[in-house]
Symmetry: C2
Subunit: 194 residues, 2 copies
DNA sequence: AATGTTGGTCAACGCCTGTTGGCAACAGTA
DNA sequence: TACTGTTGCCAACAGGCGTTGACCAACATT
């Protein structure tokens, strides 16, 4: 009764496992790591807390399973160099609006060292390689990627976590109109010189 | 034995009170609200946990007393309009490097609703009025202030909390060289049009 | 010298946390 | 039917949490 050779065998508990992950994402996104208790997650998933332990080992294992991030960044080759800024900001906004995984990761990354390490990994493995191919001098890529991630994460912070009213109510297109030139500048403009 | 009419009367317990606040700031900055336990704060201040309750009522009261923020933003009148961006970014960096209060506020603002409300208050009461006086059309001030705060808070997030290596190791002057024109643009450039 | 106030310690309360092991119901197989 | 592994619930554990109140010591005031 397996799906195929590439997918894991389907188990009777698959529905429960998925319910736990969905609830975990929602609680982690809303409450952060400490206040997203296993009991609260279990209650939302309508199962017993011990099931979480059985399927995911412990709380850290649950977090690792619940927050698996693939930014799905566009390929550097198919990215017009002078459109990189706009593409990045619209892509990030789409990802943030789509579901709560990124909000969960951001909230946890701030209170939990394992979460912070996860975010550094995503920065290194997903954003940095893209910037290396877009910016003129690969040696400057880390600095430029840091500037880009600072701005984008700051936007997510004020809009989705702190909910500053002006940031939370801005239309995505207006955000893109403001940020795209800035990101483009960080990616491709010559170093301003300290 | 009072100092003067403007300062509070000095008490024998002032040293203890200060030790508690110092320890609280350090723990809140390092651990966030939930994991900064009263017991840990008391131990670091080398006093009994019950003293914290006696002097500050409860944990929320302690947080309110420990994290009283005055951004000490420059006066809008004395701020050359075309130097506003650079002034802002260097001022913010100075404040963040000076002590851990802002890091504490940022960490707590993300896990604790009271902390988030405090940050919204600082945004409204301190940054927004300044932007209103600097930017051309006061009606656009909220959006422009939101853009500025997004970028600055994002910088603090990646540099002081998540500690992305490139962001954490950047020299303040290089940060200023990159961010000053961006902030200046957000403050005074014409609306890009959505 | 007696008294009230303040600074500080100690032990405990009730609650919540992550985590564990035992037990019942069920599915698939032979 | 009997057997085996899976799914799920229940009750409990040890420990940490914020918080409280009783108690003692040092000081200031009378």
């Amino acid at each position: 009764m397996n799906q195929s050779k590439t997918t894991a065998p389907s188990r009777r508990s698959d529905a429960t496992r998925r319910a736990i992950l969905d609830a975990a994402r929602e609680r982690f996104a809303a409450d952060g790591y400490e206040r997203a208790t296993i009991r609260a997650i279990a209650q939302q998933a309508q199962i017993d807390p011990s099931m979480v332990m059985r399927y995911y080992g412990n709380k850290e294992g649950l977090f690792a399973a619940a927050v698996a991030i693939d930014l799905q960044l566009p390929d550097a080759a198919s990215l017009p160099r002078n459109e990189a800024g706009r593409t990045l900001v619209t892509h990030f906004l789409d990802m943030w609006e789509e579901n709560e995984v990124l909000t969960a990761l951001l909230r946890v990354g701030i209170t939990n060292e394992a979460g912070a390490e996860r975010m550094r990994g995503i920065f290194n493995d997903q954003l940095l390689p893209l910037v290396e191919r877009v910016c003129p001098d690969p040696e400057q890529a880390p600095v430029r990627a840091a500037l880009v991630s600072s701005h984008l994460l700051g936007l997510a912070l004020t809009r989705y976590v702190l909910r500053f009213p002006p940031a939370a109510h801005l239309h995505p297109e207006e955000i893109a109109a403001w940020l795209a030139p800035t990101l483009q500048h960080y990616l491709t403009a010559p170093h301003p010189g300290a």
